[in-house]
């Protein structure tokens, strides 16, 4: 790393001679350390899934949600510093709340993603703040259809049909590419998402994890962002496990289930 010791990486809003903002890059490291999060844009909606690393068996299963809701119709999943993620979600909520106050209608997902990325970008511009240590997948259904975006710590945002971030993003991305996007149904996308999280999970590094899946779909949830029903989650997890076992039978010892 050429950054250390140069002094150009000690403050936000400072470029190095070769035009890099190291603090933003370091923030991305925080993202890479956290569990995988993915988003899938399907035929009439969006599916989110996260791999929640279980650091203690005293944690209450199912209680510490990582996927959050920004508005009725918008969900968000992220990897990185969870408190930073909550901060950004808070900002998203007030954007969408004030939009409703002004226009008496739900905010469009592209506009929301645009405003959020602007907010994130602002945190790269000043020495008095630090960049967000999260990479955010935000998606939902509005009157122009389903949308899925990721927002990077730099404030850059892109639209996706399938997005992944966190530790296992590489594996997840290659799996996402195999899907028939965006024609996949919401239900199939849920099952696919479960499978991808299981594949992306690295058993050698993290012992235990919890799967969390939510969706927004015109046909399944009436356009509202909700966690998927328990039976569907169980089924998706069962299928994912079965497949994961098949794949990994040779090279991995399965001892946790």
């Amino acid at each position: 790393m050429t950054s250390i010791g140069t002094g150009y990486d000690l403050s936000n809003s400072v470029f190095s001679p070769d035009g890099r903002n190291f603090q933003v890059e370091y923030a991305s490291k925080a993202v890479e350390a956290d569990g995988t999060a993915i988003g899938i844009r399907c035929a009439d909606g969006v599916v989110f899934a996260v791999e929640k690393i279980v650091s203690s068996k005293l944690l209450v299963p199912g209680a510490n949600k990582k996927i959050q809701t920004i508005d009725k119709h918008v969900g968000v999943a992220y990897s990185g510093l969870t408190p930073d993620g909550r901060h950004l979600v808070d900002r998203g909520r007030s954007e969408s709340y004030s939009w409703r106050g002004l226009y008496k209608s739900p905010i469009g997902v592209p506009i929301l993603a645009d405003r959020l990325s602007g907010y994130v970008q602002a945190y790269t511009c000043y020495s008095s703040v630090r960049p967000f240590g999260v990479s955010v997948i935000v998606g939902g259904v509005d009157k122009s259809g389903p949308h899925l975006y990721t927002i990077e710590p730099s404030g850059a945002f892109w639209g996706y049909m399938g997005a992944a971030t966190g530790k296992g993003r590489q594996a997840a991305k290659s799996e996402l590419e195999k899907l028939d996007l965006p024609n996949i149904s919401a239900r199939d996308a849920v099952k696919a998402a479960a499978k991808i999280i299981y594949i992306a999970h690295d058993d050698s590094k993290d012992k235990d994890f919890e799967l969390e899946i939510s969706w927004v779909s015109t046909s399944e949830t009436g356009g509202d962002h909700q966690f998927v029903p328990k039976d569907l989650l169980d089924e998706a997890e069962r299928l994912a496990k079965a497949e994961d076992d098949d794949d990994d039978d040779d090279d991995d010892e399965m001892d946790e289930d």
């Binding site: 959050q68 909520r93 709340y97 106050g101 909700q226």
Partner: protein, 260 residues
């Protein structure tokens, strides 16, 4: 041709009286002190398995029956119904506030949902604070649903921030015409335990009919909403007054001494 755009589409001044320009030219310091499009009574009562309420579908502009498809009962959250009488624009403002309240409540999806007492308290604070600014929201509101202990809840709040609960409540003319009928069934909370949903519905229908007979700003088309203790909310829309009787008027001639 009237060249003043603000007059277009208004009721004719020679028939309905001139438009109150004070409303239009109100400056930022001047608060709306007069309701314009209004809805009349909302009536409600508890029964053994919940609360039932009704409001007709008329939006009046003074004495003009301006809108005949005004919905004044709304579902808020999962198991609460709020009924509005009074100014329609203030009602819509409150509606949007409640919608956003519920959206905020659903952010966490953590099993906590606002129920009737919480929505009622919120509305009460909003109404009282606005009256304290001498800038009231010109409504009388009923909130119906479940209490925290699972029993039926019914509460009233109005433009002054006055609040009270009772097993039967009605706003507007309903307080004079419907309450005597409803109170015969449920004078206290205990009485509600002996009233079935069918009996309650019959009493509500009867009251709406009496209101249509005697309240000049009412309509014979109304909505009935029922909240049951299992958390269900049922809306029955476009209900019509049944078995009305106007024919006895045929037997009446004049106002006293006229021959039959």
């Amino acid at each position: 041709m009237d060249h003043m755009p603000e007059n277009w589409g208004r009721p004719r001044s020679d028939v309905y009286g001139s438009y109150q320009h004070a409303i239009h030219s109100a400056g930022p310091q001047s608060h709306t002190q007069v309701p314009s499009i209004t809805g009349t009574s909302v009536i409600a009562m508890k029964f053994n398995n919940g609360v039932i309420l009704a409001a007709d579908n008329l939006g009046s502009y003074g004495s003009l029956a301006r809108f005949t498809d005004q919905e004044r009962l709304i579902k808020v959250g999962k198991e609460t119904v709020v009924g509005f009488s009074g100014d329609a624009s203030d009602m819509q403002y409150l509606e949007s506030m409640l919608e956003r309240l519920i959206i905020e409540d659903n952010y966490e999806q953590d099993g906590h949902n606002f129920r009737a007492p919480h929505i009622y308290e919120y509305l009460s604070r909003v109404m009282y604070n606005r009256r304290s600014k001498v800038d009231p929201l010109w409504n009388a509101i009923l909130v119906a649903g479940k209490k925290d202990d699972g029993s039926p809840f019914l509460g009233y709040v109005d433009l002054l921030g006055i609040t009270y609960s009772s097993p039967c409540i009605a706003t507007g003319y309903g307080a004079y015409l419907a309450i005597p009928l409803l109170r015969k069934l449920v004078s206290e909370d205990e009485d509600a335990k002996n009233v079935t949903e069918e009996q309650a519905r019959a009493a509500i229908d009867e009251s709406m009919k009496v209101l249509f007979y005697r309240d000049a700003r009412s309509l014979d088309k109304y909505t009935v909403a029922t909240v049951t203790l299992d958390g269900n909310v049922k809306f029955d829309k476009d209900v019509r007054c049944q078995n009305m009787n106007w024919r006895f008027a045929e037997g009446i001639r004049g106002y006293g001494t006229q021959k039959q």
